[in-house]
Subunit: 266 residues, 2 copies
């Protein structure tokens, strides 16, 4: 039993989709969320820059005495999970492996699509993780760089979102997938449009739920679950305070807004 908080970090606010599932799966656990909103997005940057920024976030959370680190960002998980694990004295989980595992379990025809940021797709991380489990999996991966800005601008219902989805999913027209990974924590916000475009026979997988489940299992196995009766505490630290953040944050925490939400310096 361990009442310390779980540290969750992301390049911005997208990782809150993972927080939402962690709160559902582990309602007794306290959470510290760190979003690097001053430097978001990461998915268009190079490997060294992403690694440098991610290790700064890691150090910050470690100083805040967390018992576990959740890398709630596909770009960071795909780029430098090993470097984070090397630096961290506490266990680390990324979002790639749990989603890759679920995708392999889900696909029947072994044809899986992956959409994500440019950095995530170029890293080949999803392909590697799926082939580790089943080496005959065929993977079709495409970057969708405009999805994140469209979602951050709240234009999910706008015609622009529809056209962007049509454009980026065009390469998937004829390759007979039965499963597609939404390989960016923002993309579930476009789930309906993506589902419509891909057709109802394609199963969409996102990282949030399988990551929360894998985290729960590992906390249990390591004896790190919190069994105290105290109310969990949610803290939210951002490196910038855009006007838009408040409304986005409330979507994810629903009935349980963070007890502390503030801008910090890394």
């Amino acid at each position: 039993m361990d009442s310390r908080a779980i540290g969750v970090f992301d390049s911005g606010l997208g990782g809150l989709t993972v927080v939402k599932q962690i709160i559902k799966a582990l309602p007794s656990e306290s959470i510290i969320y760190l979003g690097d909103t001053a430097r978001v997005p990461y998915g268009t940057r190079d490997r060294d820059t992403i690694t440098k920024f991610a290790l700064e976030l890691t150090k910050y959370l470690i100083k805040h005495d967390v018992k576990y680190l959740v890398v709630a960002c596909n770009t960071i998980s795909a780029t430098c999970l090993e470097e984070i694990e090397e630096l961290s004295p506490v266990p680390v989980i990324g979002v790639i492996k749990p989603a890759a595992k679920l995708a392999v379990e889900t696909t029947k025809n072994k044809r899986v699509g992956v959409i994500g940021t440019r950095a995530t797709v170029h890293s080949g991380a999803y392909t590697r993780e799926m082939r580790k489990i089943k080496d005959s999996i065929e993977v079709f991966a495409e970057p969708c760089p405009l999805f994140v800005p469209i979602i951050e601008e709240g234009l999910m219902q706008h015609q622009i979102a529809e056209i962007a989805v049509a454009e980026y999913l065009l390469p998937y027209q004829d390759n007979d997938l039965d499963t597609m990974i939404l390989g960016c924590t923002h993309y579930p916000m476009l789930r309906d449009l993506i589902q419509k475009k891909m057709g109802s026979s394609v199963k969409l997988i996102d990282s949030a739920k399988p990551t929360a489940q894998a985290l729960k299992l590992d906390l249990k196995e390591r004896g790190l679950l919190n069994s105290s009766d105290e109310q969990p505490v949610y803290k939210l630290y951002l490196t910038d305070t855009p006007l838009i953040a408040k409304s986005v944050i409330n979507i994810f925490f629903e009935g349980d807004p963070p007890t502390e939400a503030r801008k910090i310096e890394l």
Copy 2:
């Protein structure tokens, strides 16, 4: 006469539109361009973050012994030009004042539109600068946050650009402007679409040319022009090296590619 380089900086690559005009107006001058591609875009961030980042860029260029600083970014010029001037031992020019002056000289009905990032529009800098010259100017300012990502993705000819232009310029439908400031160094890349939407009677103003002209005049007045016969040197420093950068860079330097182009640490 002073053969030191002119330092030009921007949050990313958009400031190269200003460099292009400086090369045209001042073909003997050497230029060091610094683009913070690791942390672009700035226009969605808060005032403190923008100021902090901009002062880091300023310090870097000052160390490189430049004779003049050009803030080739509307967001930075609108947010913290004074702080940069306080820090800098050499003269500083931003892009807001020269464009504002040209807009006031251009408008006949004194009704001017301004489009820019959220930070630029919220700062009110264009309105202030225009009213300093003529206090009866009416200003209609609207942020267009999706323009920068669309341009950085090279989608200027895509239907998405057309729809974004239609959406963001909708508020200008009935307000009888005769002049509009493209208040972001990226926006000239959407000039044709914006002109088509606004109608041919509306004059579009961008910062690049008037800033280069104002720079030329001030260099002359201060005796800082370079009169040596040596070939000018162009250096390009970026804080990140996205795959897309190379092709974008060549558009701006045309026949004169930078002699040095590399990633640097601030």
